[in-house]
Amino acid sequence: MTAEHGAESVGTGSNETGKQGLSGARLAVAVVGGALVAAGVRRRSAGGAALAAAGGWLLYRSVRGRGSATERAGAPPDAQTVERAVTVRASADDLYERWRDPDELDRLLAGFADVRAAGEDRQRWTVAEPLGRPVAWNARITEDSPGEALRWESEPGATVPNEWSVRFADAPGDQGTEVTLRIRFDPPGGSVGDAAMSVFGVVPEVLVGEALRRCRSLAEAGETPTLDGNPSGRGRGDRL
């Protein structure tokens, strides 16, 4: 440590709020697929094979997006839906409040989308497209059952119509709450994978998985794990 990395920089990249400093990293997870495949193939090892398989899965999702992967993600056999679940050691009411609060939703999706309140039951979503052109739409809360479920839908006119829903159910025993997040895209003539890639810059499984993991980390640990500022021979900050 030297003075230049002293107290002033402390907290600037704080993830206590879940805001990841993902500048330039937005595409990383999608790119990882290709990078892993390349690395795996180049290495010609079993580790490489596993790596290639993992990367291939991500890459496949990022390119194709249809069918098998939705099944793999445990979603209903609906090509336009991706669903995943996590169990969180918190009450359904507490978790519901987090997802109901636009600021908190903004934290869960940091790096993928900016979410702001735009009235009582409306939010303004803005994403920087992978190619750099920002896209925005309004979303409206269409289902609001405190402690049980929430649903948002993009309002007419969105480039890619999308719908998000989150359900909260008591986990068995005293394990907390099962949180199930589902995204549905209605891309005109496209697939859910293409839609998620074109709008959010990641495959939908990663988007849903990241949002759920951040929800759990923030609720349980008060912050999200991060490689912001991580030192290496490549410089500062890391995201694979």
Binding site: M1, T2, H5, G6, A7, S9, V10, G11, G13, S14, N15, E16, V29, V32, L36, A39, G40, R43, R44, S45, A46, G47, G48, A50, L51, A53, A54, W57, L58, T87, R89, Q175, G176, V206, G209, E210, R213, R216, S217, E220, A221, G222, E223, T224, P225, T226, L227, D228, G229, N230, P231, S232, G233, R234, G235, R236, D238, R239, L240
Partner: protein
């Protein structure tokens, strides 16, 4: 600051990297006092673990002095002397609450890389591939420690740095391996491997009341250490058939518990070893399982197989042997936070002192040479430790 970076297979270099900083409010930055090489690092050196990147700072066993604290850190202050387990725990998830720290849900920033392979993600670990979190390692002047209140353990003044260092990784790993064996009076425990983890498993098993400990290796100086420090009987596997020898020495029963502290780069002899080695050479798989297969055959019926060695995705595991013999198989990456306080107590009480593992202490600048000694097991090297 200066740090030891992985630049490729068998290519380690000390270079200048940015200083770590407090990012999250529960972080501290530690000035590293001592940092040790670990056998599992050799898999990285040898190129068997994917998701390393050129420039990654390695090292995951360390202790030091707190240099900077985040604003939400309560129990740790600047200047405190602490030892830190290699896996990062959040302290609040279901797994941390269950004392299963290496399974923490909330400390791996790259969880999405592990899930397609493991079906789940592990906790993050320092300096050990991006799939395992990507955190910069400890072979450096400074290292960032997340969730400091949970992961920093104060070192009692009467312990010197080397006495505390191995409570970070080698000792809790070996101690957990012995703990898995639920040792009772009269038990015979066999341990494959006399590296840092194996020696710690042997000594811990003795401490937990094993009647006899049998240590298996091929290096005379390490077998001598097992004898001296753990009071172990020894077997040089290059001289005898290990399974026959263990059966012979235990009245035909076999050891009550067998601990594999070798893992995927097990050396061996004979046909099975040649098969493993050939496949590994061809990179057809990353694991050589000779030690594990021996342990399964030698173990008493109904006994316990405790697996500590680091494995990749080993594709040939004779499960039928375990099933037909009714073995209990127990495995984990180390749950360090569960054990560190009692380990430090053991040292303070004079019951065990792991500092003999540090056969070579070197400045950080000479860490590449240290790894060379370690990898080739030259000059009686068990663990080289680096003082930045």
């Amino acid at each position: 600051m200066r740090a030891l970076c992985w630049e490729g297979v068998d290519d380690l270099r000390v270079t200048e990297v940015p200083d770590p900083e407090v990012v999250n409010p529960r972080d501290v930055v530690l000035r590293v006092s001592l940092s040790s090489a670990c056998g599992s690092d050799l898999h990285i050196l040898n190129g068997y673990l994917p998701t390393m990147r050129e420039g990654d700072v390695i090292g995951h066993e360390f202790m030091g002095e707190v240099a900077e604290v985040g604003r939400k850190v309560e129990d740790v202050s600047v200047g405190d002397r602490v030892v830190v387990p290699s896996f990062v725990g959040c302290g609040n998830c279901a797994y941390c609450a269950d004392d299963l720290w290496s399974l923490c849900d909330n400390t791996n920033p790259n969880a999405s890389l592990q899930e397609p392979v493991l079906g789940d993600a592990t906790a993050g670990i320092y300096g050990y591939t991006h799939a395992f979190g990507g955190y910069a390692g400890s072979h450096a002047e400074y290292v960032r420690v997340p969730h400091a209140d949970t992961n920093c353990f104060h070192v009692p003044d009467e312990l010197d740095d080397q006495q505390a260092l191995f409570a970070s990784d080698a000792w809790p790993t070996g101690y957990m391996g012995a703990d898995f064996c639920d040792i009772e009076d009269g038990d015979v425990v066999a341990v494959w491997g006399c590296g840092g983890v194996g020696l710690m498993a042997q000594e811990s098993a003795a401490l937990m009341g094993a009647e006899r400990v049998i240590a298996i290796d091929r290096l005379p100086e390490r077998l001598a250490m097992a004898e001296e420090h753990a009071g172990a009987e020894t077997i040089d596997y290059t001289e005898v058939d290990v399974v026959d020898e263990l059966k012979r020495r235990t009245g035909g029963r076999g050891p009550d518990a067998c601990i594999d502290a070798v893992g995927m780069e097990a050396h061996g002899t004979g046909v099975a070893h040649a098969y493993d080695r050939a496949k590994q050479r061809l990179r057809l798989h990353t694991d050589r399982g000779e030690a594990l297969r021996q342990a399964m055959r030698a173990c008493r019926k109904g006994g316990t197989l405790s697996v500590l060695g680091v494995y990749g995705v080993m594709d040939k595991f004779p499960l039928g042997v375990a099933v037909n013999k009714g073995l209990t198989v127990r495995t984990a990456q180390q749950h360090g936070q569960r054990y560190v306080p009692q380990l430090l107590d053991h040292v303070a009480e004079g019951e065990m002192d792991p500092s003999y593992l540090a056969t070579h202490e070197l400045p950080l600048a000479e860490s590449p040479e240290g790894y060379d000694l370690f990898k080739h097991k030259e000059d009686g090297c068990v663990r080289p430790v680096f003082r930045p």
